[in-house]
């Protein structure tokens, strides 16, 4: 019951936050001097064409009228039409969703599978060489900008060592000769479902560098938090008591301490998700992955405002939802929060 009320309240809050974001994004994109009609027409537009498009698409109406029209359409599920690609924004977002979903999900998994063990082991083997190396890795992760890392990876592994592909989601020839039947849109899942091993292998190879670049920062953050959280827990009285009682070290560390150390890590994962969404703008552009980040980047520099609004609202929604899930997971794993309800 409590959980339901909590969730309902958070969802309501989400709606309010999204409303605020929509206003800010709309105002900014409409106040920047630009000519959406000329963008739509392309090349050397003529005045008649611009006037006609301004009329047809309502670009000369006052800004608050345009905003209300936008919101009215939004509630009906119509996100407008992209000025650059001439397609409905909703279709563009749907089409590009899978590339970003694949990239971000894999990056999160890597961040967890690498960052958590690294941090925990770092803490249990504090001040050893292993610990020092992992701390070095985590500092680099946090301080290296992801796009710079992307360029270095491309130069090293693609251009010089020829070990991994330079860019793209899949090899051009393979895409042309072994086309992927679209079921989920995920280039790792669909080929498996249809037995298209060639395409699967190529897609997997193409994801290695982008995932590394995107995940590296989060690996750094997760490692640091996991380590410091674990160190703190290991110094707690109850752990010392457990040692005093003679419980074996692995049992104490990996069963009791570990679970408690995870709590801050879960929070940080939720925030990392936000960093990753931001990182998709650079990573997808550098690696030519046709996802939401690439689309968002192009839309912003051309001031394609329906597209900018679409990407902004979608990213904001998913970030808020992910953090809601994180908080609900907290409820599930931390009995202290569950059993001692806060006053509403």
């Amino acid at each position: 019951m409590l959980l339901l009320r909590y969730t309902a309240r958070r969802l309501l809050l989400m709606a309010v936050v999204l409303l605020g974001i929509s206003i800010v994004a709309f105002v900014i994109t409409h106040l920047i001097p630009s000519s959406p009609a000329a963008l739509w027409i392309g090349g050397h537009a003529t005045q008649e064409q611009i006037d006609r498009i301004n009329e047809e698409m309502g670009f000369n109406k006052p800004i608050y009228v345009q905003y209300l029209l936008y919101m009215k359409n939004l509630l009906r599920g119509d996100l407008g039409v992209s000025l650059c690609t001439k397609r409905p924004v909703r279709d563009e977002l749907a089409r590009r969703f899978s590339a970003t979903f694949e990239l971000v999900t894999l990056s999160l998994i890597v961040a967890v599978l690498v960052g958590v063990p690294l941090g925990i082991l770092s803490a249990t083997h504090k001040d050893t060489w292993g610990d020092r190396i992992s701390r070095l890795i985590s500092i680099s992760g946090v301080s290296l900008p992801s796009f710079f890392l992307a360029m270095l990876l491309q130069l090293a592994f693609a251009s010089h060592l020829h070990l991994l592909p330079l860019q793209g989601r899949i090899d051009s020839e393979i895409l042309s000769e072994h086309p992927i039947t679209t079921i989920t849109g995920l280039y790792l899942i669909d080929p498996l479902l249809t037995g298209n091993w060639v395409a699967f292998k190529s897609s997997a190879q193409h994801l290695i560098l982008p995932v590394f670049a995107l995940a590296f920062t989060s690996v750094g953050i997760v490692t640091r938090i996991a380590r410091s959280s674990m160190v703190e827990i290991l110094n707690e009285d109850y752990i010392r008591t457990a040692h005093a009682y003679g419980l074996s070290r692995p049992l104490v560390e990996y069963k009791y301490a570990f679970k408690n150390a995870l709590l801050p890590v879960i929070t940080v994962l939720g925030l990392s998700y936000g960093y990753m969404l931001g990182g998709t703008f650079f990573i997808e552009s550098m690696f030519d992955l046709p996802g939401l980040g690439h689309f968002g980047y192009n839309s912003i520099i051309r001031n394609d405002f329906p597209a900018v609004m679409g990407v902004t609202l979608l990213y904001a929604t998913s970030f808020i939802l992910v953090n809601l899930i994180v908080d609900l997971v907290y409820f599930a794993v931390d009995p202290r929060i569950r059993l001692k309800p806060k006053n509403d």
Binding site: A38, G43, T85, A158, Q167, E173, L175
Partner: protein, 482 residues
């Protein structure tokens, strides 16, 4: 390709789409590179003639041609294509403005009746909005095109389009030109956003051609034996338009002084690294109609100071602003150099870089317009009028005439010349020559660079013939060196 294709409808497609339009569709005539023996190569029309008054144009069409969807090509298709393009009014549809009526005389003869004389042969060779497509296919509408379908007669057809990733063209077996000799059977146009990535792909051989190689990478590429860099003439040129209505550049003497303060040689040799030549007025030297003995400005700071001394503006009123596309290293360096030289003659210049969409909007309105505005222009179809009409004709509201220049004498001469292009080309050329000098005398812009294009390709891809009239590569001519 630095970006994906947005428009697949040949009646509307207007910019980067030229890369597939040029290979998948055909117009009635192809314009030949300047210096060729003939001005045109027959494409879908094999011969043509016009009446003496330039009002009636008859095109005789090629026989035995089919569209990619199997529909036979005939005069009906020509009439349909052009009428549809004009009706939809997108892109450069205005080039057909003189056409009153298109008459299908028989299956292979089409007659254009014009309401005023116009050079229909030049217009029919335009790189945009002059392509003939299959009526049966086009009936399915723009949405059908937008799925990545094509309806052309050209040597290649669109096999697949993965949005955001790549377009694959394959050879059309029934192409009327035949497939004798060596040709590529498949072309993959990949979308690669970053310049550095394009360069790397070219170096590793993953790409045979890169379209957006930055000028500073060229040296390195030239030294690579597997890569060929060819500098080609183009009809693109760059200028800084001078606002003739905003003080202090509303004074002719100030504008002329600025033109004398521009270091023409240094900009072209050092900033553009040889990728441009010094411009002579508004029309590129390689375009027909360019006047050869124009009175030009040179880099002469003393002359500039002399003119400024006579200006009605005192030394503390000589402040100007210069707007340009911020991401262009060439514009920025040229503007910085100008700023330095202007300081030497007593003009204080403020630099205002920005994205095109923003600076264009600001430049259109006199309240926010700068004194100097960067501009790069190229024609839609091969005519000198494109520059003059687009940039200097009286405009209200302002679109591209960012000098805010209004000269009724020029407007009249331009209108006359455009009509005479069809009936008395020599007289038209004479008038265009007058206009070019007028623009220089009024110092409406710093005309500083005729830009060169560049083809950066793997050295084993041969056969390219460069043609400034079309901003893309004609793949049918290319082959791999055996």
């Amino acid at each position: 390709m630095y970006s994906d294709f947005a428009d697949w409808d040949p009646s509307l497609a207007f910019s980067l789409e030229i890369w597939y339009l040029y290979n998948v569709y055909e117009p009635l005539l192809w314009y030949n590179p300047p210096g060729s023996a003939e001005q045109f190569t027959p494409a879908l029309a094999t011969s043509w003639e016009s009446s003496a008054d330039g009002l009636t144009w008859t095109f005789h069409l090629r026989e035995g041609v089919t569209f990619h969807d199997g529909t036979p090509f005939n005069a009906e298709a020509v009439k349909y294509s052009i009428e549809r393009t004009v009706k939809m009014g997108g892109g450069a549809a205005w080039i057909w403005g003189a056409v009153k009526e298109i008459e299908v005389k028989d299956d292979h003869t089409v007659v254009f009746h014009l309401s005023y004389a116009a050079p229909l042969d030049l217009i029919a060779s335009s790189q945009y909005q002059a392509y003939i497509f299959s009526p049966t296919a086009a009936e399915k509408g723009t949405d059908w095109f937008m799925e990545g379908h094509d309806a052309g007669t050209g040597p290649y057809l669109v096999e697949s389009w993965e949005p955001g990733q790549q377009t694959v063209l394959v050879k059309y077996d029934d192409y009327w030109g035949g497939w004798e000799g060596h040709h590529f059977s498949k072309i993959i146009l990949k979308t690669v956003l970053e310049q550095s990535t394009q360069v790397q792909m070219l170096e590793t051989g993953e790409a045979d051609r890169a379209t957006l190689v930055p000028i500073d990478s060229l040296e390195g590429l030239r030294n690579n034996p597997d890569i060929a860099v060819t500098i080609i003439p183009s009809w693109m040129n760059s200028q800084f338009l001078i606002n003739v209505q905003k003080p202090p550049t509303d004074d002719l003497l100030v504008r002329q002084a600025i033109c004398y303060a521009w270091d023409y040689e240094t900009v072209v040799n050092d900033i553009y690294n040889g990728m441009a030549t010094v411009a002579e007025g508004i029309i590129p030297k390689t375009m027909w109609g360019h006047k050869d003995d124009l009175k030009l400005y040179t880099f002469d700071l003393d002359k500039a100071r002399e003119l400024l001394a006579q200006s009605r503006y005192g030394p503390d009123e000589l402040k100007i602003d210069i707007a340009y596309i911020g991401t262009s290293a060439e514009y920025e360096n040229a503007a910085l150099l100008l700023q330095q030289n202007l300081a030497k003659i007593g003009i204080e210049a403020e630099l205002k870089p920005g994205p095109w969409t923003t600076i264009w909007e600001e430049a259109k309105n006199l309240e926010t317009a700068p004194n100097l505005q960067s501009m790069t222009w190229w024609p839609t179809y091969p005519t000198p009028s494109d520059w003059i009409y687009g940039l200097f004709r009286t405009e209200d509201p302002t679109l591209f005439n960012l000098s805010h220049y209004s000269n009724p004498v020029l407007d009249a001469r331009l209108d006359e010349a455009m009509v005479l292009e069809a009936t008395d080309r020599d007289e038209a050329i004479r008038l265009y020559g007058e206009i070019q000098q007028m623009l220089l005398d009024d110092a409406v812009a710093i005309f500083y660079a005729d830009l060169n294009g560049r083809i950066t390709r793997r050295a084993d891809v041969v056969g390219a013939v460069t043609n400034p009239a079309y901003n893309a590569e004609y793949f049918y001519r290319l082959s791999r060196k055996q």
